[in-house]
Assembly symmetry: C2
Homo-oligomer: 99 residues x 2
Protein backbone atom coordinates (compact mmCIF):
# COMPACT_ATOMS: atom_id res chain seq x y z
CA UNK A 1 0.00 0.00 0.00
CA UNK A 2 1.34 3.41 -0.87
CA UNK A 3 -0.86 6.04 0.68
CA UNK A 4 0.56 9.05 2.42
CA UNK A 5 -2.31 11.51 2.08
CA UNK A 6 -5.98 10.57 2.39
CA UNK A 7 -8.11 13.25 0.77
CA UNK A 8 -11.53 13.59 2.35
CA UNK A 9 -14.47 15.25 0.60
CA UNK A 10 -17.80 16.43 1.99
CA UNK A 11 -19.42 13.28 0.64
CA UNK A 12 -16.75 10.82 1.81
CA UNK A 13 -18.16 8.03 3.96
CA UNK A 14 -16.67 8.38 7.43
CA UNK A 15 -16.38 4.62 8.02
CA UNK A 16 -14.55 4.14 4.71
CA UNK A 17 -12.12 6.94 5.55
CA UNK A 18 -11.71 5.52 9.07
CA UNK A 19 -10.88 2.10 7.60
CA UNK A 20 -8.24 3.65 5.36
CA UNK A 21 -6.72 5.62 8.26
CA UNK A 22 -6.58 2.49 10.42
CA UNK A 23 -5.02 0.43 7.62
CA UNK A 24 -2.27 2.94 6.86
CA UNK A 25 -1.51 3.48 10.56
CA UNK A 26 -1.21 -0.28 11.08
CA UNK A 27 1.19 -0.57 8.17
CA UNK A 28 3.16 2.67 8.20
CA UNK A 29 2.48 4.30 11.59
CA UNK A 30 1.75 7.67 10.01
CA UNK A 31 -0.85 9.20 7.75
CA UNK A 32 -2.09 12.63 6.72
CA UNK A 33 -5.74 13.41 6.13
CA UNK A 34 -6.53 16.45 4.00
CA UNK A 35 -9.86 18.27 3.84
CA UNK A 36 -11.04 21.50 2.24
CA UNK A 37 -14.19 23.15 3.53
CA UNK A 38 -16.27 22.74 6.69
CA UNK A 39 -18.19 19.63 5.60
CA UNK A 40 -15.04 17.79 4.54
CA UNK A 41 -13.20 18.78 7.75
CA UNK A 42 -16.18 17.52 9.76
CA UNK A 43 -16.13 14.18 7.91
CA UNK A 44 -12.37 13.91 8.44
CA UNK A 45 -12.61 14.52 12.20
CA UNK A 46 -15.44 12.00 12.55
CA UNK A 47 -13.38 9.48 10.57
CA UNK A 48 -10.46 9.93 12.99
CA UNK A 49 -12.79 9.35 15.96
CA UNK A 50 -14.01 6.12 14.31
CA UNK A 51 -10.48 5.03 13.37
CA UNK A 52 -9.48 5.45 17.03
CA UNK A 53 -12.11 2.85 17.93
CA UNK A 54 -10.92 0.48 15.18
CA UNK A 55 -7.33 0.76 16.40
CA UNK A 56 -8.00 0.14 20.09
CA UNK A 57 -8.26 -3.56 19.12
CA UNK A 58 -4.65 -3.29 17.94
CA UNK A 59 -3.69 -1.42 21.13
CA UNK A 60 -2.76 1.60 19.03
CA UNK A 61 -3.74 4.94 20.55
CA UNK A 62 -3.79 7.51 17.74
CA UNK A 63 -3.61 11.26 18.12
CA UNK A 64 -4.24 14.00 15.63
CA UNK A 65 -2.33 17.20 14.88
CA UNK A 66 -4.28 19.78 12.86
CA UNK A 67 -2.38 22.17 10.60
CA UNK A 68 -3.21 24.62 7.86
CA UNK A 69 -1.92 23.67 4.45
CA UNK A 70 -1.90 25.44 1.08
CA UNK A 71 -3.20 23.31 -1.76
CA UNK A 72 -3.20 24.15 -5.47
CA UNK A 73 -6.36 23.11 -7.28
CA UNK A 74 -6.68 24.13 -10.94
CA UNK A 75 -4.16 26.96 -10.50
CA UNK A 76 -6.06 28.30 -7.50
CA UNK A 77 -4.49 28.23 -4.06
CA UNK A 78 -6.86 27.05 -1.36
CA UNK A 79 -6.36 26.57 2.34
CA UNK A 80 -6.85 22.99 3.41
CA UNK A 81 -6.84 21.48 6.87
CA UNK A 82 -4.29 18.73 7.24
CA UNK A 83 -4.72 16.28 10.10
CA UNK A 84 -1.52 14.46 10.88
CA UNK A 85 -2.37 11.10 12.45
CA UNK A 86 0.20 9.21 14.46
CA UNK A 87 0.31 6.75 17.34
CA UNK A 88 0.49 8.72 20.58
CA UNK A 89 3.89 7.34 21.40
CA UNK A 90 5.60 6.59 18.06
CA UNK A 91 8.70 5.35 19.88
CA UNK A 92 6.64 2.51 21.38
CA UNK A 93 5.31 1.61 17.99
CA UNK A 94 6.96 -1.04 15.88
CA UNK A 95 5.90 -0.75 12.27
CA UNK A 96 5.83 -3.66 9.86
CA UNK A 97 7.81 -1.54 7.46
CA UNK A 98 11.44 -0.73 7.83
CA UNK A 99 11.94 2.98 8.32
Amino acid sequence: MDIDIIKVAARSRTTAVAGAIAAVIRQAGYVEVQAIGASAVNQAVKAVAIARKYLTDDSIDIICIPEFSEVKIKDETRTAIKLIIEPRYPEDYSSEESW
Copy 2:
Protein backbone atom coordinates in the same frame (compact mmCIF):
# COMPACT_ATOMS: atom_id res chain seq x y z
CA MET B 1 -9.68 30.31 35.65
CA ASP B 2 -12.09 27.42 35.78
CA ILE B 3 -12.74 26.20 32.27
CA ASP B 4 -12.83 22.54 31.42
CA ILE B 5 -14.99 22.57 28.28
CA ILE B 6 -14.77 25.24 25.58
CA LYS B 7 -17.96 25.20 23.51
CA VAL B 8 -17.42 26.28 19.93
CA ALA B 9 -20.23 27.49 17.69
CA ALA B 10 -20.31 27.99 13.93
CA ARG B 11 -19.83 31.74 14.48
CA SER B 12 -17.07 31.49 17.08
CA ARG B 13 -13.95 33.43 16.12
CA THR B 14 -11.13 30.94 15.64
CA THR B 15 -8.46 33.22 17.11
CA ALA B 16 -10.56 33.85 20.24
CA VAL B 17 -11.12 30.10 20.71
CA ALA B 18 -7.41 29.48 20.05
CA GLY B 19 -6.49 32.03 22.73
CA ALA B 20 -8.77 30.30 25.22
CA ILE B 21 -7.33 26.86 24.37
CA ALA B 22 -3.77 28.14 24.78
CA ALA B 23 -4.60 29.85 28.09
CA VAL B 24 -6.22 26.78 29.62
CA ILE B 25 -3.45 24.47 28.40
CA ARG B 26 -0.81 26.76 29.89
CA GLN B 27 -2.61 26.76 33.23
CA ALA B 28 -4.15 23.30 33.51
CA GLY B 29 -2.45 21.17 30.82
CA TYR B 30 -5.78 19.81 29.58
CA VAL B 31 -8.87 21.13 27.86
CA GLU B 32 -11.88 19.80 25.97
CA VAL B 33 -13.37 21.58 22.99
CA GLN B 34 -16.94 20.72 22.07
CA ALA B 35 -18.64 21.40 18.75
CA ILE B 36 -21.97 20.40 17.22
CA GLY B 37 -22.39 20.52 13.45
CA ALA B 38 -19.95 20.76 10.57
CA SER B 39 -19.32 24.51 10.75
CA ALA B 40 -18.63 24.42 14.48
CA VAL B 41 -16.33 21.40 14.13
CA ASN B 42 -14.46 23.21 11.36
CA GLN B 43 -14.01 26.31 13.56
CA ALA B 44 -12.84 24.11 16.44
CA VAL B 45 -10.22 22.33 14.33
CA LYS B 46 -8.93 25.61 12.92
CA ALA B 47 -8.75 27.00 16.47
CA VAL B 48 -6.61 24.04 17.55
CA ALA B 49 -4.26 24.61 14.60
CA ILE B 50 -3.90 28.28 15.64
CA ALA B 51 -3.49 27.39 19.34
CA ARG B 52 -0.63 25.07 18.34
CA LYS B 53 1.18 28.08 16.88
CA TYR B 54 0.51 30.19 19.98
CA LEU B 55 1.90 27.43 22.22
CA THR B 56 5.10 26.79 20.30
CA ASP B 57 6.42 29.96 22.00
CA ASP B 58 5.87 28.17 25.31
CA SER B 59 7.51 25.00 23.93
CA ILE B 60 4.24 23.14 24.39
CA ASP B 61 3.38 20.71 21.60
CA ILE B 62 -0.36 20.04 21.78
CA ILE B 63 -2.19 17.10 20.26
CA CYS B 64 -5.86 16.50 19.75
CA ILE B 65 -8.00 13.41 20.34
CA PRO B 66 -11.41 13.51 18.63
CA GLU B 67 -14.30 11.58 20.20
CA PHE B 68 -18.04 11.42 19.77
CA SER B 69 -20.02 12.73 22.69
CA GLU B 70 -23.75 12.80 23.49
CA VAL B 71 -25.00 16.20 24.55
CA LYS B 72 -28.45 17.09 25.84
CA ILE B 73 -29.81 20.39 24.53
CA LYS B 74 -33.37 21.31 25.46
CA ASP B 75 -34.26 17.66 26.16
CA GLU B 76 -32.91 16.61 22.78
CA THR B 77 -29.88 14.36 22.56
CA ARG B 78 -27.39 15.47 19.94
CA THR B 79 -24.07 14.05 18.89
CA ALA B 80 -21.23 16.45 19.45
CA ILE B 81 -17.59 16.16 18.55
CA LYS B 82 -15.31 16.50 21.52
CA LEU B 83 -11.68 17.37 20.90
CA ILE B 84 -9.50 16.50 23.85
CA ILE B 85 -6.45 18.75 23.83
CA GLU B 86 -3.32 17.82 25.75
CA PRO B 87 0.39 18.39 25.55
CA ARG B 88 1.89 15.58 23.48
CA TYR B 89 3.91 14.32 26.41
CA PRO B 90 1.94 15.21 29.55
CA GLU B 91 4.64 13.64 31.73
CA ASP B 92 7.11 16.27 30.51
CA TYR B 93 4.69 19.02 31.31
CA SER B 94 4.75 20.79 34.64
CA SER B 95 1.53 22.62 35.31
CA GLU B 96 1.22 25.68 37.51
CA GLU B 97 -1.60 23.92 39.29
CA SER B 98 -1.13 21.14 41.76
CA TRP B 99 -2.71 17.94 40.46
